[in-house]
């Protein structure tokens, strides 16, 4: 990943192009090098390290002990006598769906089984922030700024990730969207980042006859300012044009994906349309409220949390079918919540604020099909402060691995300042190409001509080297063949 060490995208690509031209002895020039090296997506495979990231934040502290049931831990049933998901072998139809002999999904989340069985869904349990706060607002803020306990940091981890990554597309107009009425803290300080309540209606109201002139005046008024409002205004204007090219209303999901009609499903459906339109959006943040179930939590069918879980499962299952069952898009989705809930149910058939929780990760680059947990146990001596599920996996370990290996950003010290993450193996690793583009069995300067050919005239390359896999050119294992691979090529040939 050392190729990402440079500060600026265009700068290092230009540098590597010069190096490449020198190394290839002018061959590329002879082939008619275009003004800009094209990028060749050789396959929609699992090996991109520049995924789009979609975060779904369950606001209000979702009960991880219901979302992912430790059904083999008897203490769970002791603590939740009337607020539990019965064991998988319980009689009746309302019972957990076993995942691995220890954990199970509540039946409402059964629609996620195909994703799980396909290896695309990973659950990380006993996970969360190690800060002891049981305040929703502090805990959400700490997670979103990516630095628990820091009261002075206001920028978000996703915002800082974007600020330290080159954009997907050059001169990107829109890099991140927070679906909602105000920007999620996680996205704050992100470049070309905006909050939009409804992607489908992002146009300027009023007379069509004067809309262009009015937009011009509004743009010009804001162009004079140079503050956060004018930056948002510029992005809003560009987004009108950008989203105007996408037919959200007429969007047809793939593979019979069936989204619901609730806010989460609508947001995920718009996100899918947006991702497929390939306009350069790299991050989307979605909020889902209603998880603060102090009273009548309702985990059985028809209950409050049950309905929430059904909506969650419907949305995520549709998103999975839509984006990953045919062409497998390079997208990683994360579901998180500020903390879990108390192990012991309270006197009002609900649960109070707790600590450790579960995270869901979904995508082709996720090493899924399992529950990852260093299970701390539910005995009083094993619980956090004697009450709550302990945190044995810091949420930043999970997010940092995604940022590093799925989003291709090595600047973890900026994204998660003051923290040295431990990668837990939540992502799948990619095999880098060897760069042997002429298939003579060795990587030498000779290969640069074939590589240039692949980049500039793919058909000619296929004719000249019919048996050479294009994946050989993906030297940095990011699923793309572009200037970054050239830099890696140069580094390997002439270290």
């Amino acid at each position: 990943m050392s190729v990402h060490d440079s500060q600026s995208c265009s700068e290092y690509l230009q540098l590597s192009r010069r190096q490449f031209l020198a190394a290839s002895g002018g061959t590329a020039l002879a082939l008619g090098m275009p003004a800009w090296l094209p990028s060749v997506a050789y396959a929609e495979d699992d090996c991109s390290d520049r995924d789009v990231i979609v975060t779904v934040f369950l606001r209000g502290a979702a009960d991880g002990l219901t979302l992912c049931v430790p059904h083999a831990d008897d203490l769970y049933y002791t603590a939740r006598p009337t607020l539990n998901i019965p064991r998988p072998d319980a009689s009746g139809t309302f019972r957990a769906v076993d995942l691995d002999g220890f954990f199970g999904l509540p039946p409402q989340l059964a629609p996620l089984l195909p994703a799980y069985q396909n290896g695309d869904l990973l659950l990380v349990h006993a996970c969360g922030s190690t800060d002891p706060t049981r305040s929703h607002f502090d805990a959400q803020r700490y997670m979103e700024i990516g630095k628990p306990g820091d009261v002075g940091l206001f920028t978000g981890w996703l915002g800082r990730h974007l600020a330290t990554s080159p954009p997907f597309v050059e001169n990107s107009l829109l890099r991140a969207i927070g679906i909602g009425y105000g920007l999620q803290r996680a996205l704050e300080s992100g470049p070309q980042t905006i909050s939009i309540p409804d992607l489908d209606t992002h146009t300027l109201s009023g007379s069509m006859a004067t809309v262009a002139a009015r937009r011009t005046v509004i743009s010009a008024m804001h162009a004079l300012q140079g503050d956060a409002l004018s930056a948002a205004a510029t992005t809003a204007q560009q987004t009108i044009d950008l989203l105007g090219t996408i037919d959200f209303a007429g969007y047809v999901p793939e593979d019979g994906a069936s989204y619901g009609t609730d806010g989460l499903s609508l947001a995920l459906k718009s996100t899918a349309a947006l991702i497929k339109a390939e306009v350069g959006v790299e991050a989307v943040a979605i909020d889902v409220g209603g998880w603060d179930n102090h009273v009548n939590q309702g985990v059985v069918i028809g209950g409050a949390m049950s309905n929430n879980m059904t909506r969650l499962a419907t949305g995520l299952a549709a998103f999975h079918a839509d984006l990953f069952s045919g062409l497998r898009r390079n997208v990683t989705l994360v579901v998180m919540s500020e903390f879990g809930r108390r192990l012991l149910q309270n006197g009002s058939l609900g649960t109070d604020h707790g600590h450790g929780n579960v995270m869901f990760l979904m995508g082709p680059g996720v090493d899924g099909g399992r529950v990852l947990a260093n299970w701390p146990g539910l005995d009083e001596t094993e619980l956090f402060e004697g009450r709550d599920l302990a945190v044995t996996t810091d949420f930043r370990d999970v997010l940092a691995e995604i940022v590093s290996l799925r989003l291709g950003n090595p600047s973890l010290d900026v994204v998660f300042p003051g923290y040295t993450p431990t990668f837990r193996g939540v992502t799948r690793s990619c095999e880098p190409g060897g760069g042997d583009l002429n298939c003579d069995g060795i990587l030498t300067y000779e290969d640069s001509g074939a590589m240039a050919q692949l980049l500039t005239d793919r058909e000619a390359f296929e004719v000249a080297h019919p048996d050479c896999p294009e994946s050989e050119a993906d030297l940095n294992a990011d699923g793309q063949i572009n200037g970054l691979d050239i830099q890696e090529f140069v580094r390997r040939v002439a270290p």
Binding site: G206, M221, S348
Partner: protein, 502 residues
């Protein structure tokens, strides 16, 4: 970010380049030139320091829901302190026109029993929405309405949580509006006895054999001490135990969903709250003691002072000001008027940075400045306007979590399109029952320059920057006689950056 930089510049913390930062230049203009910046060093708190003349503009901006020439005239004729005192002594302001306007909104006075007898509760909460908007726009008791907004956020209740839609009307009238400019201790006590609050935060199901911590925690975190106010998880548990049995009448009679203390649900054992012993054997007195402990706590004084300063001074108020307002809380046992008096008379207002209008503020200030006609009744409210506010994410009583709508520019600044669209729809006549009359607004103005002069005078009081003015004037010049162009020019002015701050 830039707001913070701006504030830092105002406080002299960073060098201020002679940039095109027109927020800065607006403030300079407001203050009558750069000379005002010479006196930025934090002066020691000084009771009734007399701010310079342009301070009246600051005061009108801060204590109303939007500047108007009429409000400015009143402030100028009364003087800074007298205008402030008049607004604080809100009962003395004749608001009979407002009361007459609201006569058909009879459900504002309904108790929960009446509300439950309605076929459709939406009729009642729409009256509450509209009354809240109308009062903000038309009431002469502007500071009082701003304080109602402040406490509505502070003691946030989401209308669509449980049965809150049936009981928020009572809470609004009897908790927030009764005490908005009174004593915080009494306000807190009223809120603790509000069935709506106890329902919203689940206290009605907190019982001695199973206390529910939700209300107890937010009572300390959000309503009094603040999250860093020095309480522990054990204090949350103890306060929850003290408040077991605080709920409301269930039977379907006149008392329905009015407060009651259910002794058979109460935990009668001894407790310790924030170091104070709560003796065993008490009943409702436990909760009353908690109210007193919290209202008297120094963390509460500081937390409320900080929040008030953020609301009325700037997002990053100087510590000296917070100290002064905190001291006033302590000295007056939480007299809200006294705190505001200190807040507005301690430091030179030229120290304060601009604040970004939240969507509700933007909407109300636009309706005030344009003198939009707003012809509705309690039976036929403007649902279209509620939809606009919802589209902007700021329909009153619709913030789900208990911390209230955010009051920071960072949160709201990212979605300007919904603001432009409100403005465009308002002038276009697309918000049912609301309209702007270009003939009345522009009077006899005819040329683009004259029309622009009216916009500058009526919406901005001179605050529109030269660049913005030129752009809108050029738009008017395309067809100055056209009523639709004139209206669109007002819409553009309402979308101008200068209209987004106050």
């Amino acid at each position: 970010m830039s707001l913070k930089r701006f504030v830092a510049e105002q406080l002299g913390l960073t060098a201020s380049a002679p940039s095109a930062d027109s927020v800065l230049s607006r403030r300079k203009m407001l203050l009558g030139g750069a000379a005002a910046f010479a006196a930025v060093s934090a002066r020691p708190p000084q009771a009734r320091a007399v701010p310079p003349g342009s301070a009246n503009r600051f005061l009108v901006d801060r204590i109303t829901f939007g500047w108007t020439p009429e409000e400015q005239n009143q402030a100028d004729s009364l003087g800074y302190h007298e205008y402030l005192e008049r607004q604080l002594d809100y009962h003395s302001i004749d608001d009979s026109a407002m009361e007459a306007r609201l006569e058909s909104y009879e459900m504002l006075d309904y108790i929960p029993y009446h509300m439950h007898n309605l076929v459709n509760v939406s009729v009642a909460y729409r009256q509450l929405y509209e009354a809240t908007i109308l009062r903000a726009v038309q009431s002469k008791r502007q500071l009082y309405q701003r304080m109602v907004e402040f406490w509505t956020d502070h003691f946030n209740i989401n209308l669509f949580s449980g049965e809150c839609a049936w009981i928020k009307n009572w809470d609004d009238k009897n908790v927030i509006r009764v005490h908005a400019l009174g004593s915080f201790r009494e306000l807190l006590s009223a809120s603790m006895h509000s069935a709506c609050m106890l329902h919203y935060l689940n206290n009605e199901l907190s019982v001695w054999w199973g206390p529910n911590e939700n209300y107890a925690r937010e009572l300390m975190e959000l309503h009094t001490l603040g999250v860093d106010g020095g309480y522990t998880q054990q204090d949350v548990v103890e306060v929850a135990r003290c408040l077991t049995g605080w709920d409301f009448h269930r039977p379907d009679n006149y008392d329905r969903q009015m407060f009651r203390f259910a002794a058979n649900h109460h935990d009668f054992d001894a407790k310790t709250v924030l170091g104070h012993a709560i003796p065993a054997g008490q009943g409702i007195e436990d909760g009353e003691m908690v109210c007193d402990i919290l209202a008297s706590h120094p963390s509460t004084a500081r937390y409320l002072a900080t929040k008030l300063c953020r609301k009325f001074w700037s997002e990053n108020p100087p510590v000296t000001l917070i100290d002064a307002v905190t001291a006033t809380y302590t000295a007056t046992d939480g007299d809200i008027k006294a705190m505001l008096r200190t807040l507005f008379t301690t430091l030179d207002p030229s120290l304060a940075g601009p604040k970004f209008k939240r969507p509700f503020h933007l909407v109300v200030s636009a309706l005030r400045a344009t003198k939009a006609s707003y012809e509705t009744t309690g039976a036929e409210p403007s649902v279209a306007l509620f939809n606009r506010l919802a589209n902007m994410g700021h329909l009153p009583f619709n913030w789900a979590p208990p911390d209230g709508y955010p009051d920071r520019a960072d949160f709201w600044v990212g979605s300007p399109l919904t603001r432009w669209n409100f403005a465009a729809r308002l002038v276009n006549g697309n918000i049912t029952y609301l309209s702007v009359d270009p003939a009345a607004f522009f009077a006899t103005a005819a040329t683009a320059d004259q029309l622009m002069g009216q916009i500058q005078a009526k919406l901005f009081g001179g605050r529109l920057t030269a660049e913005e003015r030129n752009l809108i004037r050029d738009y008017l010049a395309t067809d100055p006689a056209s009523p639709s162009i004139r209206l669109e020019a007002i819409g553009l002015a309402l979308a101008a950056p200068s209209f987004q701050w106050y």
